[in-house]
């Protein structure tokens, strides 16, 4: 699915007008306006001076050498040297400045996209795979960057070169120039035809590549089945067929490319022949000078380069616009409602109360039906029930990750739906089931990159979470840089790290989604201790799986098929032969096994 999806995206044609894209992208590059202008000026300068070489050579041939004027030759050479020096220095800065503008602008765009994405509602993340988002932030912005650093430069430079060369040739010998001009139209037409032909071939190539990736992915996933049924040869054959197909398409594209190049080169040779033949005859008659002849020969080899560059950039531009469009699609998503900002931090005085919550992630299949519950300040409530029963959905609503279709949640008298999301969340310590580690040091991972939290605070929290010793095991201690996803910690240890994260903030309310994975007895013991430490003096809502955790709760709510089916203390619920007693037996039988 992944590959297929990306393929579709790659083929999206931009729908808007070029101006629209540039106008929306411009703000990201505007801060660097002075650099853009400077680079533009240098561009004009270099394009202009770049044409001077053949002119000076013409002068050297006709005037200096022609009249045996050694001093004149030296002067011409010095002018040439001077111009080239300016050209080189200007060229260097033009290139570097434009790169700077492009890189900075792209970085700003990436940053804006990233920050925007982080503020989007959870529902957006549910339907957009992380891989796709990464390529929006990374690859698409790079494609957009090319628009500013490459496309615009090439178009401007090539255009100027063509214009400049035309003028100089026209001035040197209008007759000869008109002769050369006759050659151009067929080539422009040929280019145009080529563009039309090569695009579908490239789409074919990309399709085959996607198909190849699909075979690789299917085969790797189905490797055991393929091997048991001895079908390796068949898949190898399929791969080989696809590779042959790709080869064929690539060959087609290559033939088209080379045909066009051949045409261009033929044009060059023809032009050369025309200039030297006809121009040479005129030169013999003394109607034009040898220097002019030389000038034309030099320019003809330079004439087709810019033409080719322009046609290349038209392709690049199409792709960049498609990327820009995808970028805007993300930027145009509405962020989750922030709520009314209040400066004063939230403190729970009485209770969190949910009333008649009805909630469906997709708006159709309700996972919570008429759920009401109250958690009083200081109370520890455990949510238990089977997977898919709705426990996590309750937590999702409490954290304001989603908005219920009906019903409301109040913290004391404040309605959660209008409450500032940061104000709510900063009062809550959230321990999710899956412990995510960010690239960076352990210290930063525990304080979650909040520099206002001191190292001492972090160490203290880690001690209380019973993970300090495991951390000091590493030679770098808290400065250990985590390898991929924190793979250097066991599952149990990662739970303890998550506890430490919550303890660092010392939140008033704790929401804990307990991990289901079983751990060794020693870690189990540490988790028990850490959990007690974590719950001390806090209002807590725990999605509980382990009996020991459930026993720590003041009250147990059984969430079953979207309802709160039972509630009471562990003992009360056990006495009543209902869902909880069955869940308990399930657990008990399982643990005994």
């Amino acid at each position: 699915m992944h590959w297929h999806g990306d393929l579709e995206l790659e083929e999206t044609k931009p729908t808007g007008k070029a101006g629209t894209y540039v106008r929306r992208l411009w703000p990201f590059f505007r801060p660097y306006l002075s650099r853009v202008i400077a680079a533009g000026a240098l561009l004009l300068l270099t394009a202009g001076l770049g044409l001077a070489g053949p002119v000076l050579l013409k002068r050297a041939i006709d005037v200096d050498i022609g009249r045996n004027d050694l001093r004149g030759l030296t002067v011409t050479s010095l002018i040439y040297l001077g111009i080239q020096l300016v050209l080189l220095v200007a060229g260097y800065f033009q290139q570097v400045w434009l790169a700077l503008v492009g890189e900075r602008g792209a970085a700003d765009l990436k940053q804006a996209l990233f920050r925007h994405v982080l503020d989007l509602p959870m529902s957006f993340f549910d339907k957009t795979p992380a891989g796709k988002l990464i390529s929006r932030v990374e690859s698409d912005t790079e494609a957009v960057k090319m628009l500013f650093t490459r496309t615009s430069v090439v178009l401007l430079q090539s255009g100027l070169m063509l214009l400049g060369m035309s003028i100089i040739m026209g001035v040197a010998s209008l007759r000869l120039f008109l002769l050369v001009l006759v050659l151009l139209p067929p080539f422009v037409v040929a280019f145009w035809v080529f563009q039309k032909k090569v695009r579908p071939v490239y789409i074919q190539v990309r399709r085959t590549v996607a198909e190849t990736n699909n075979v690789v992915s299917e085969a790797l996933k189905g490797l055991p089945v393929i091997q048991v049924f001895c079908q390796q040869r068949r898949f190898a054959q399929r791969m080989d067929d696809l590779n042959r197909l790709k080869y064929k398409h690539e060959l087609k594209a290559t033939i088209l490319w080379h045909a066009v190049w051949m045409l261009v080169d033929f044009g060059e040779v023809l032009g050369m022949g025309l200039v030297l033949g006809v121009g040479g005859a005129w030169a013999l008659k003394g109607q034009i000078t040898i220097g002019t002849l030389f000038l034309f020969v030099s320019y003809i080899t330079r004439l087709f380069g810019p033409l080719r560059a322009i046609s290349d950039q038209i392709n690049v531009m199409q792709r960049a616009f498609a990327s820009a469009e995808r970028t805007f699609q993300v930027l145009d998503q509405t962020p989750e409602p922030a709520g009314m900002p209040v400066n004063e931090p939230f403190r729970l005085k009485q209770a969190i109360a949910c009333e008649n919550l009805n909630f469906a992630y997709d708006g159709e299949n309700f996972v919570l039906k008429d759920v009401s519950l109250v958690v009083r300040k200081g109370e520890k409530v455990a949510l238990v029930g089977e997977t898919g029963g709705g426990k996590t959905s309750v937590v999702n609503l409490l954290m304001k990750f989603y908005q219920a279709q009906s019903g409301n949640i109040r913290c004391d008298s404040e309605d959660l739906s209008t409450m500032d999301k940061h104000r709510l969340r900063s009062a809550v310590g959230f321990v999710p089931q899956e412990v995510v580690m960010f690239p960076g040091s352990l210290l930063d991972n525990l304080r979650l990159f909040d520099d206002s939290i001191s190292r001492e605070q972090v160490v203290e929290a880690a001690r209380r979470a019973r993970i300090h010793e495991a951390i000091t095991r590493f030679p770098q201690g808290y400065d250990t840089v985590l390898t991929e996803g924190g793979a250097n910690f066991s599952l149990g240890e990662r739970q303890l790290l998550a506890f430490a994260r919550a303890l660092v903030r010392d939140p008033e309310i704790l929401i804990l989604d307990e991990a289901t994975s079983s751990v060794d007895p020693h870690t189990e013991h540490l988790i028990q201790e850490g959990l007690e430490e974590l719950l001390k003096g806090r209002t807590a809502i725990i999605v509980a799986h382990r009996l020991a955790t459930i026993r720590m709760a003041d009250r147990v709510l059984v969430v079953h098929k979207g309802h709160i089916a039972e509630q009471g203390t562990h003992d009360e619920l056990l006495a009543h032969e209902g869902i909880y007693s069955r869940l308990y037996r399930l657990q008990y039988v399982g643990e005994a096994a």
Partner: protein, 592 residues
């Protein structure tokens, strides 16, 4: 974990230097092509040398005031050779490009063929995305180098050689003076080239750092939001972006320097021709035609000089790509074919005191299981009790570290692998279907299956109704671009595949989990009745299904804890009974 790291290091050590053999092997098999390309390169290079020479003749001719027909003749020569040159200069890169693609085709196919025989250690080491990346991007980089990179270098060498010879013969002094800056340029390039490479690597490292940050933020979005980390990780991201701008600018500056040098050298050389050559023309040591031709030869030299320098940069990058591709090829396979393969003889399948561990994690310890012909055997056990590993050993996609698997008393390691595996029909836990028709997914390579047999199998797997509902029936395309099946449909296609061709042993690894308890039991029951004489091995997370079995093994922590008939096991009130109780409660809860 540590073992893996060490292994990678060893790999790198053993492969260093020899990593480009994946390129040289290709050419060793095609010496004719290599010779042809070299020959073509020489001819084309030689032809391109003619152009400045003719230019010289024309200009000198005009200068001397030659006749019009003479001029026309030279111009026609020029156009003629020009066309020849164009044809050659297009055909040569075209042939190179074609061979690049061919190389990609052949090597990708051959590496993939090896991958298809790999087992679980390979899958653990190389995630799917990684393999795709290696077979796609790395392959692209390597294939360019394999032909274009190498032969462009050759072409550049010949151009430099030929042009130098001609220039020296025309005017050694001027040659020396004008070639000097180009030579100097090559020296600088040799110094800057590695710098470009190192900037490139730094840049790539920054990109992967950014990708890691993005991935962590997006997959951990719940945490980000719940701790209001948006600002903090936004700042961190900004800092990394700034570092990346720094690296990118380092690269841009180096590239700009090289670019400027490239232009500068061209211009200095032109300037030297202009001034020194001009003086010589004035002093009549050089004709005007020679002067112009010299200029043309100098311009001809500059590109190739950089192709030569570039070989070192692209060569190093290609080496990296080659290593990454070759390591897929060189991964040791799980099982080796016997040197003298025997044909399997149907009979009792046995696991004789087998032990197996993944690294330090022991999954089977001294397990003893027997599957007599025609028997229906169930396997039950807790999660991670070693069930899937038993299948790996049975199918010989892995060999036990201790003990043996035998068929009719013959160690399966002695048997012809394909012939042995063909004894099995297998429906895995997660129904694996491929982008193909329903029919091909069921037949999956089994030959000599009549339409009638196929229909029977489809009916047996209770798939007939679904197939009738597809617009193209059995010819319906499945997968990415085809019909998407429901979980239950997928499972039944996979079951049909396991049954087709009536293999002597059918393995159903929890293959019916998408069905509800009642339907599953009925389906398995009917299926078993249709398979007299066939050994059936069933794993199901619903133990009631195993009541149809003649014998049940109960696994716990890699050992056979209990065995017997379903009813007897229940009566024992041991592990099997406990597992059964758990399941009854789950079913009760489902109904509440």
């Amino acid at each position: 974990m540590k073992d893996e790291v060490r292994m990678t290091n060893d790999e790198v050590r053993t492969q260093k230097g020899g990593s480009l053999r994946i390129v040289f092997d290709f050419w060793r098999e095609r010496p004719g092509w290599a010779i042809g390309l070299i020959g073509g390169t020489i001819v084309v290079t030689a032809i391109s040398m003619v152009f400045p020479y003719l230019l010289r003749m024309i200009i000198d001719g005009i200068k001397r005031g030659t006749t019009q027909p003479q001029l026309v003749r030279y111009v026609l020569y020029l156009v003629g050779f020009g066309f020849l040159r164009v044809v050659g200069e297009v055909l040569l890169p075209f042939s190179r490009g074609r061979i690049n693609e061919l190389y990609q085709w052949k090597v990708r196919s051959s590496v993939f063929r090896r991958v298809l025989d790999m087992g679980h250690t390979f899958s653990a080491k190389y995630p799917t995305g990684d393999v795709m990346e290696r077979l796609d991007h790395d392959m692209g980089e390597l294939s360019w180098f394999a032909c274009s990179g190498l032969f462009r270098f050759a072409a550049a060498g010949f151009t430099v050689l030929f042009a130098l010879i001609i220039m020296v013969r025309m005017n050694p002094f001027l040659t020396l003076i004008t070639v000097l800056p180009i030579g100097l340029g090559v020296l600088v390039w040799v110094r800057l080239g590695p710098l470009v490479y190192s900037w490139f690597m730094k840049w790539r490292a920054k990109i992967s750092e950014i990708n890691n940050q993005l991935e962590a933020a997006f997959t951990g979005i719940r945490l980000v939001k719940s701790y209001s980390m948006e600002e903090e990780i936004g700042r961190k991201f900004r800092a990394t972006l700034d570092e990346r701008v720094g690296v990118a600018m380092g690269e841009a500056r180096t590239e700009a320097k090289i670019h400027i040098m490239y232009m500068g050298i061209a211009e200095v050389a032109t300037l030297l021709v202009l001034w020194v050559g001009g003086v010589q023309v004035v002093r009549a040591h050089l004709t005007l035609g020679q002067f112009v031709a010299f200029n043309a030869y100098i311009l001809m030299l500059i590109g190739p000089m950089f192709d030569i320098g570039n070989l070192f940069v692209s060569g190093r990058r290609a080496q990296g790509a080659a290593e990454r591709i070759d390591s897929l090829r060189q991964h040791p396979p799980e099982v080796l074919p016997p040197t003298r393969p025997l044909q399997p003889v149907s009979g009792e399948l046995r696991l004789n005191r087998v032990s197996f561990s993944y690294g330090s994690r022991v999954v089977l310890a001294d397990a003893e299981l027997a599957f007599a012909p025609g028997r229906k055997v169930g396997i039950a056990g807790t999660v991670g009790s070693g069930k899937s590993t038993i299948f790996r050993l049975l199918f010989r996609t892995a060999d036990p570290q201790q003990g043996s698997v035998t068929l009719s008393g013959q160690d399966v390691r002695q048997l012809d692998i394909d012939a042995y595996r063909k004894l099995f029909g297998y429906a895995p836990q997660e129904a694996t279907l491929f982008s193909d028709t329903v029919k091909d997914n069921i037949l999956f390579g089994r030959e000599n299956v009549t339409d009638e047999q196929l229909r029977a199998v489809v009916a047996g797997a209770e798939l007939a109704e679904d197939v009738a509902g597809f617009p193209k029936g059995l010819g319906e395309m499945l997968g990415e671009r085809g019909t998407r099946l429901s979980g239950g449909q997928k499972e039944r296609v996979a079951i049909a595949r396991a049954l087709v061709g009536r293999p002597p042993v059918v393995v159903l690894d929890d293959a019916t989990s998408a069905l509800d308890a009642e339907t599953e039991k009925e389906l398995v029951n009917r299926m078993i009745n249709q398979l007299p004489g066939v050994t059936v091995i069933i794993v199901s997370h619903r133990l009631s299904v195993l009541s149809v079995c003649d014998w049940v093994y109960v696994l716990d922590a890699g050992k056979v804890k209990e065995q017997g008939k379903h009813d007897d096991l229940l009566a024992k009130q041991g592990l099997y009974w406990k597992l059964y109780q758990r399941q009854l409660i789950t079913e009760e809860l489902e109904k509440l």
